[in-house]
């Protein structure tokens, strides 16, 4: 099914801005009526600086209203719109058209892998959040708090800079070859969250979290495939953090 031409720009068009002709191939699936997922191609026009999300929104708003996906913030902070775009996990709102296609080219869009597809590009996120909850993702310090803040040095605070930056978009976990084949692996996102607390000098439950990481659903499942690191839209050096957790577990238990 191919649709008519239309323009997908969020920015006002000035005559001088060249428009790209694109084919957008979307993997669609509605369990209410489809047995199997199928590809549909839409012809659209877009500017090089448009986000892939602008293009998909355009398809939804003017060509195919039933197309379903999650989105909210439009600038890579809410973590709603992880998709498999041209073969890699990315946030549709943080991927510019010019980075994935030339004029006349094709952009393919599929749901992220390893989680059940509910409709089109929207997947069941519950297992992902279950893994998140499994690492006790909350600050634990049961000694009485001081009247003001707990003191922490700049360097100590900096240790959490990467891991606390995670927006739980699942780009990483659903790019991990181990997670694809086996969902019992907690996955990189959960490990990044564990790192956030393990390396927080104020937190007191380090041993418990290291214990969780030490189980066969934890860090030892990671085979350093680096897909997670490549996929992370927040540029978190995930594999490095996982390796740090591995070492922390090793030295912590030794």
């Amino acid at each position: 099914m191919t649709q008519t031409h239309a323009q997908a720009s969020s920015a006002p068009v000035s005559a001088s801005v060249p428009m790209l002709q694109l084919k957008v191939k979307v993997l669609r699936f509605d369990p209410e009526k489809d047995k199997k997922a199928y590809w549909t191609t839409y012809d659209v026009e877009a500017q090089a600086g448009d986000r892939v999300l602008d293009v998909i929104n355009h398809i939804k708003w003017y060509l195919e209203p039933s197309l379903t996906f999650r989105r909210s913030c439009m600038h890579g902070i809410c973590g709603s719109d992880a998709m498999l775009i041209n073969g890699r996990n990315r946030l549709a709102c943080k991927t510019l058209v010019r980075d994935v296609a030339k004029s006349g080219g094709t952009i393919t869009v599929e749901p992220i892998r390893g989680l059940k597809v509910e409709k089109d590009l929207l997947v069941d996120m519950e297992p992902f959040f279950d893994s998140y909850k499994a690492i006790m993702p909350y600050f634990i310090n049961e000694s009485p708090a001081p009247a003001a803040e707990r003191i922490q040095s700049e360097e100590e605070a900096e240790r959490m800079a990467h891991s606390s930056n995670c927006i739980l978009c699942a780009c990483c976990t659903t790019s991990c070859p181990i997670f694809w084949v086996n969902g019992s692996y907690l996955g990189p996102a959960a490990i990044v969250q564990a790192h956030r607390f393990i390396f927080d000098t104020r937190d007191e439950a380090t041993q418990q979290r290291l214990g969780i990481m030490n189980q066969n659903t934890g860090v030892w499942r990671c085979r350093t495939a680096y897909n997670c690191t490549e996929a992370c839209p927040r540029d978190i050096p995930i594999t490095q953090l996982i390796e740090e957790v591995k070492r922390a577990v090793m030295y912590g238990q030794a």
Binding site: M136, Q208, R209, L210, G211, Q215, W220, M250
Partner: protein
């Protein structure tokens, strides 16, 4: 799967260091195997031709207890290392619990038999 919500849950679930120990073992055995295996390949395969791997040649070489031990170490380490490596794969790809149990059972038995067979072979010379 672990689903710890509290301190106690987590403590209960986190008692075993098995995975950690295997992880360390994979690295140490790997390090040793680099020397053993590359050496073995070099000696039996590049230096000496396969045609020399006659019955007599093998028997002669293994008359030396040092070589006996060398070969046995390869046998033991690589079987263990390989078996644990294969266990990783089985745990990843065989997802149903009952299937996993019997696949692992059969696999470990084969490895154990091979190990016994190899050991008996080596030392019966």
């Amino acid at each position: 799967m672990i689903r710890a919500r509290t301190f106690t849950d987590a403590r209960q679930q986190a008692h075993s260091n098995a995975e950690l120990n295997w992880w360390i073992f994979m690295r140490i055995s790997g390090l040793i195997l680099v020397f053993l295996i590359l050496g073995h390949i070099y000696m039996t395969f590049i230096q000496v031709s396969e045609s020399d791997a006659t019955f007599d040649a093998v028997v002669n070489k293994l008359a030396n207890p040092a070589w006996k031990f060398y070969d046995w170490l390869i046998l033991a380490l690589s079987l263990l290392h390989g078996a644990n490596g294969a266990r990783y794969s089985i745990e990843d790809y065989v997802r149903s619990r009952p299937n996993r149990a019997w696949v692992k059972g059969v696999f470990y038995t084969v490895i154990a038999l091979l190990f016994a067979f190899g050991t008996v072979g080596l030392f019966s010379i």
